[in-house]
Amino acid sequence: MNLQDIVDQLDLNPYTQGKPLNTIEPSGGYTSDLLSCVMAGAKQGNIWITLQAHVNIVAVAALLDLSAVVITEGAQPDTATIERALEQNITLLGTNQPSYLVAGKLWEMGLKSG
């Protein structure tokens, strides 16, 4: 399953694309809104689900080489966040759905590793 499949199935809005979406296969998923948890717990290639939309999420995603960040609950990344994500080739995807539903749908799609 690649990011394009996920974007299509969950109807996500891509704010930025690090690489062509159909070339990236997430290694698993991680959900938390505390950036320190993510830094300690998420694994390389994970897709990260969070309602945080501030610029620090880009640094965390870049640091861990995450495949994408799904920003939930309709939270809007500001211009600085989007610019930084473009600079660092980070894929930011948005949705109005809550994190719980996004995680559930990814699980149903077969993305079951943490």
């Binding site: 505390l34 950036l35 320190s36 830094m39 300690a40 945080q52 939309a53 501030h54 610029v55 620090n56 640094a59 870049a62 640091l63």
Partner: protein, 246 residues
């Protein structure tokens, strides 16, 4: 007694997000040029550059208050201010033991330089100072008070690391000495947005990561430019007063 202009939230080159211009002599001269007479040095989870800034200020009228911007377990940024370095070293020992063990990646987060009073490089802190410290906000406030310090949540209006965004509201059993609001917010706007903050003294912080953000948007009407007097001013005690310059 008279008014002293103060900026109580200043980072040095030790904070990864601070610019390289934030070295002791430039911080000191920049503050003095703006008529600021009190600054607090508040690096993220570290106090290693404070003595150098104090040395750089010797012979001037600028008072340097030792401080730290602590990242609590809830990722709330808490300004911890002290009268001397000694109590701060106790807080530093706790931080050194309880901070998340992550290594800094200067290419993502920025360099963390320890420097001397002229700004010359001494060493780099290898740990990621932006990590959280395994202490709750409530326990951190209690510990700072035990050490005789002031505990002031930083930029409470901010989405990243602000108390209100991370905790939802200000727990009313926290004995906070003041709340810091961001430089671009007015007291009126803040109190309309968050009525709960009416119960607290407010501080306006430059959260200076560049020299231009050493703003000094606080007037303390006090007897001497020191930390005890600032504490009294927050409480409006003994005719001491504090006012934000909006």
């Amino acid at each position: 007694m008279r008014n002293y202009r103060a900026e109580l939230h200043v980072h040095t080159v030790l904070s990864p997000c601070a610019e390289v211009e934030m070295i002791p002599p430039l911080i000191v001269t920049n503050a003095i040029e703006k008529g600021i007479e009190i600054i607090a040095i508040t690096d993220h989870n570290s106090s290693a550059n404070i003595l150098s800034v104090q040395k750089a200020a010797i012979g001037t009228n600028l008072t340097i208050i030792p401080g730290m911007e602590l990242t609590t377990h809830e990722e709330v940024h808490l300004l911890c201010l002290f009268g001397t370095m000694k109590p701060l070293t106790h807080l530093q020992s706790l931080v050194d033991k309880q901070m998340q063990k992550l290594k800094n990646r200067p290419d993502f987060f920025g360099e963390q330089f320890i420097v001397d009073e002229t700004g010359n490089y001494i060493s780099s802190d290898e740990r990621l100072l932006l990590g959280t410290v395994n202490i709750t906000l409530a326990n951190a406030v209690a510990f700072v008070h035990e050490l005789g310090g002031l505990a002031i949540p930083a930029h409470i209006d901010r989405k990243a690391n602000g108390l209100i965004a991370n905790l939802g509201f200000i727990p009313d059993d926290l004995c906070l000495d003041a709340l810091e609001i961001s430089k671009n917010k007015t007291v009126e706007k803040m109190t309309n947005e968050y009525p709960q903050i009416r119960n607290y003294p407010l501080l306006k912080g430059g959260d200076a990561h560049i020299l231009d953000n050493i703003l000094g948007l606080n007037h303390f009407y006090i007897n001497e430019p020191n930390y005890q007097e600032i504490g009294l001013a927050f409480q409006n005690k003994n005719n001491r007063k504090h006012q934000i310059i909006d």
